[in-house]
């Protein structure tokens, strides 16, 4: 397993994690009380979701652009 592989995988995982977190924990597609439903549990979590998307895809950038470890 190369460093590149690890970091890339890490980025993907982090990105997905951020998305899942922002979506399910932050933005909260479900809610209990009527008022709660009108607010994300965590403000700006939609922004976090978008960041997650960006992080995940930037893994591709890293994977193809990072200097190869050998040579």
């Amino acid at each position: 397993m190369t460093r590149r592989g690890i970091v890339t995988g890490g980025l993907i995982v982090t990105g997905l994690a951020l998305m899942v977190l922002a979506y399910f924990a932050g933005a909260a597609p479900w809610c209990n009380t009527a008022v709660e439903c009108s607010n994300p549990r965590l403000e700006w979590s939609p922004a976090i979701f978008v960041v997650g998307v960006i992080v995940a895809f930037s893994s591709a950038l890293y994977y193809s652009m990072s200097k190869s470890d050998k040579k």
């Binding site: 009527a34 008022v35 439903c37 009108s38 607010n39 994300p40």
Partner: protein, 248 residues
């Protein structure tokens, strides 16, 4: 637990639009904006002509499409059943309006100043301003400048900003002071009733007890908080007559 609802007695409504006007003045809605609407409907051919009246406030649905679709949670439903618009958060995408099958939403298409201008009354007239301090309208209701409910949001009154959505609030600012909504309060023939339907002995609960009733567009499952007693849902052949000046 409180759940507010409105009952409309179609056997009594005489289509006078007192509710429409009371709402307009209480909530300071500008020209051409009537949060409360009263249909004057006509069907059939002379001489078998049928005429009916149908008051249409916001239905404050318990399963409100407008609340569902609001992208930023500006349109929201309160614990007590009121469906309100946070005019300080609304981004003006008007998704709530296309989602609402009842046509109760009013968008601030214009700068409120221009909307008030339609009345052609110089509110800034010095002789007037000396009395009203230049308030627009001169009968401006200060209750609308304060936050409401435990969630402390700006939800009452009209024409605060251009480009945001507004609608009937069940007079949240009055209800929170223990008063009836302006339309209910003024109805000359008690065709409108309002109260807590969770409370068995509230006037509205007693009024609705063992009475035939229907909701508008029940089939859509929006479950409105406005219940109609007497009469029938509007027929699809009904023609609306005598509409107010709602053009812009």
């Amino acid at each position: 637990m409180t759940r507010y609802a409105m009952a409309v007695d179609l056997n009594r409504c005489q289509g006078c639009r007192a509710c429409v006007e009371a709402c307009k003045i209480e909530n300071n809605t500008p020209n051409a904006v009537f949060w409360m609407h009263v249909f004057r409907l006509e069907e059939g051919e002379f001489p078998n002509t049928k005429m009916t009246f149908l008051p249409r406030p916001c239905q404050h649905c318990n399963n409100a499409p407008c609340v569902k679709v609001c992208p930023v949670g500006a349109r929201y439903k309160r614990e007590d059943g009121l469906v309100l618009t946070d005019f300080d958060r609304c981004i003006g995408c008007r998704y709530c309006e296309v989602a609402c099958p009842y046509g109760v939403n009013f968008f601030n298409w214009r700068n409120p100043e221009e909307a008030w201008g339609e009345y052609q009354i110089p509110f800034d007239d010095p002789d007037l301003a000396s009395v009203t301090g230049g308030a627009v309208p001169p009968y401006k209701n200060p209750d609308h400048d304060v936050r409401h409910g435990p969630e402390q949001r700006l939800t009452s009154g009209s024409a605060h900003f251009k480009g945001v959505m507004e609608k009937c609030t069940f007079c949240v600012h009055r209800v929170e002071q223990g008063m009836l909504p302006a339309c209910v309060d003024t109805c000359p023939v008690q065709a409108l009733r309002f109260g807590d339907v969770e409370d068995e002995d509230s006037p509205i609960s007693r009024f609705l007890r063992d009475k035939e009733s229907f909701q508008l567009l029940e089939e859509l499952g929006t479950d409105p908080s406005v219940v109609y007693v007497g009469g029938n849902p509007p027929s699809s052949h009904a023609r609306e007559i005598e509409r107010p000046l709602t053009g812009v």
